[in-house]
Amino acid sequence: MPAVQETIDQVRQIDVDQYKYGFETLIEMDKAPKGLNEDIIRFISAKKDEPEWMLEWRLDAYRRWLTMEEPSWARVEYPQIDFNDIYYYAAPKNQTGPKTIDEVDPELLATYEKLGIPLREQEILAGVQESKVAVDAVFDSISVVTTFKEELAKAGVIFMSISEAIREHPELVRKYLGSVVPVTDNYYATLNSAVFTDGSFVFVPKGVRCPMELSTYFRINEKNTGQFERTLIICEDGAYVSYLEGCTAPQRDENQLHAAVVELVALDDAEIKYSTVQNWYPGDSEGKGGIYNFVTKRGDCRGANSKISWTQVETGSAITWKYPSCILRGDNSRGEFYSIAVSNGRQQIDSGTKMMHLGKNTSSRIISKGISAGRSNNTYRGQVSAHRRATNARNFTQCDSLLIGNNCGAHTVPYIEAKNATAQFEHEATTSKISEDQLFYCMQRGIPEEEAIALIVNGFVKEVIQELPMEFAVEAQKLIGISLEGSVG
């Protein structure tokens, strides 16, 4: 209940500039030359002190990428991207990898403080920050610090940047990297495989329940820089982890590219819960600037009785192209996808999920809530398939769209394929508008129009908000209110 009040306060505080994370950190950067070629890839690999096999892997991906074409099937429009006009590596000077908190540039610490991300362990432990969450902070192309590493190590959990993991745990990385999203999976995933710079690595060994929430906070700061994040999470037999991801970027007139790949692997009886609150800069009300968010996220329920759950709150980015998916390979495995996608201004979202039922008695659940306002377009695209051998596959899909105003669009594109006669797939979809009746009713009780919209929208997305970890739920409600600021009148 107080969250709604906070949403309202937050909305009220905001005047012309709705995006409060639009500031820029002025810090000296170490950059690779602009453009993309094999030398750049060698440069990135050398910067990160990578073993030879990693460089070969990247180069192989790059060569394949050169033969591929940009996909055009999504319902999004944007000018041709010039891949040679982007910096593929940018890191704060003197920062070659994660350090202890005392060694991190104070300017960077100040940035994260401004973003509300707790990085100082002592303060968190002393109760200055209320929640205990381990954070990996990624700034442009590099992870600047990872908190609570030691405490996690005691439990046997490995949580570090992927660059570190490649050096320190090459056997694990080699075994799992690219095993869920193959190098040649799609245009952006292949590009990412060639040039990825940083991201998080999580390994939870057999039987361990990760003692705290893990999170990565991505920040794009440098101009004309692409961020190519790579995250790999592995849960061995019976392990559990809950992982959160947050993202912001400065306000800029030109578009910036974020092309990430996230791979999750759950072995027998393991469970991974992955939550995202995506708040990249969405561009201004005329569609100038903003992040292109072209992301491949996939989880593999490799073991029997495993479970992977994706929860996402998408409010930012000029363009979102993202389908967090589950491969339900293990018998009795379960995949879930809970999504709230809010678009306003000129934002374009094409997002959804894929549930691929391969094992026996696998089940999946999809709850998608799309909210479109302004002149935005919001598409849900989902695929549910049952393999020939996937007996008793079950899926329930519910797609609800809410429209605010008369100039936005909501589209639902479900694909359903069942090759096994015992599969039971259900699909429900609704599209509604915030009705004049609802607004009039709320306002008649003294609730001003914008607050009334925030209240009605928060009611609409409640089912998904409930799936988020507590701290994120409050954050997400606020964010939704802010994103819809100025959507009426």
């Binding site: 709604v4 009039f440 008649q444 009780r445 003294g446 129009e449 209240l455 009611g459 089912e463």
Partner: protein, 251 residues
């Protein structure tokens, strides 16, 4: 408290005139009943008082405590103390009734420059008001009006009215859809709000409700005008003889 002067109003979309030179005065402490045949403009009048944008006032004025309210939007009028109990209360999915009550009460307090209610204060107030209306606290955990029975919806309206403590209450066909027991509970709730500082306008088709909420004045609305006013005896006369004689006299 309420003075409507020569009011003319039409549907904004197609220009159909619904209210055609309506005059009505309701004083502090008064309970006024508005009756009239279907299509006479009763519900429209309630919407116009609440400031619904679908209607346009083309002539005349509405004074509330001596000031025109025509320039105020719906939420401002509500904060100023005008409450409309809806004939068809609207469903708000996903928003628990308790949550809605808290937001509404605090928004009105904010508009009056008052502090927000503390949670214990809020719960105490709701518990008291709900008890008087025979409302189970469990019902208030459900999304507002979603899946409520007709009786539950009307009781939820009166609950909001008693929590928001308005100065001018407009009840639009509050008796429709109520069985006799629910009618009694709802009427008792309204009667408990009768006070020398408050005016209540009861819009109804039937004399039945007026046996429970006894009006001080009765006004007959026909084709967007008040064609006859009287005391509660007028309501009885309508019940026995229908509207035709009064309409004939007025014509």
């Amino acid at each position: 408290m309420l003075e409507i002067r020569n009011l003319h109003a039409r549907i904004a979309e197609d220009g159909t005139e619904i209210i055609r030179g309506l005059n009505l005065t309701v004083g502090k402490g008064e309970v006024a009943a508005i009756m009239g045949p279907n299509g006479s403009g009763k519900s429209t009048l309630s919407y116009i008082l609440a400031g619904r944008e679908d209607y346009e006032v083309t002539e005349g004025d509405i004074l509330y405590n001596g000031e025109s309210i025509l320039e105020m939007d719906t939420a401002e009028r509500a904060a100023a103390g005008i409450f409309l109990a809806f004939q068809y209360p609207v469903e708000i999915p996903g928003v628990a009734t308790m949550q809605f009550l808290k937001v509404a009460m605090n928004e009105q307090r904010k508009a009056h420059g008052e502090e927000e209610l503390t949670t214990p204060d809020f719960i105490r107030q709701v518990r008291e008001a709900a008890g008087a209306l025979n409302i189970d606290m469990d019902m208030l955990k459900r999304p507002l009006n979603v899946g409520f029975s007709g009786g539950e919806k009307k009781r939820a309206e009166i609950l909001q009215m008693s929590l928001l403590q308005p100065n001018l209450c407009v009840l639009d066909e509050t008796d429709s859809g109520l069985d006799i027991d629910a009618l009694k509970i709802v009427s008792d709730g309204v009667n408990a709000l009768r006070s020398p500082d408050r005016a209540i306008v009861v819009i109804t088709h039937y004399q039945r409700l007026l046996e429970h909420i006894v009006p001080d004045t009765v006004h007959v609305l026909y084709k967007g005008q008040v064609i006859k006013s009287g005391d509660k005896a007028l309501a009885l006369e309508l019940e026995n003889n229908g509207y035709s004689n009064i309409i004939k006299d007025a014509a």
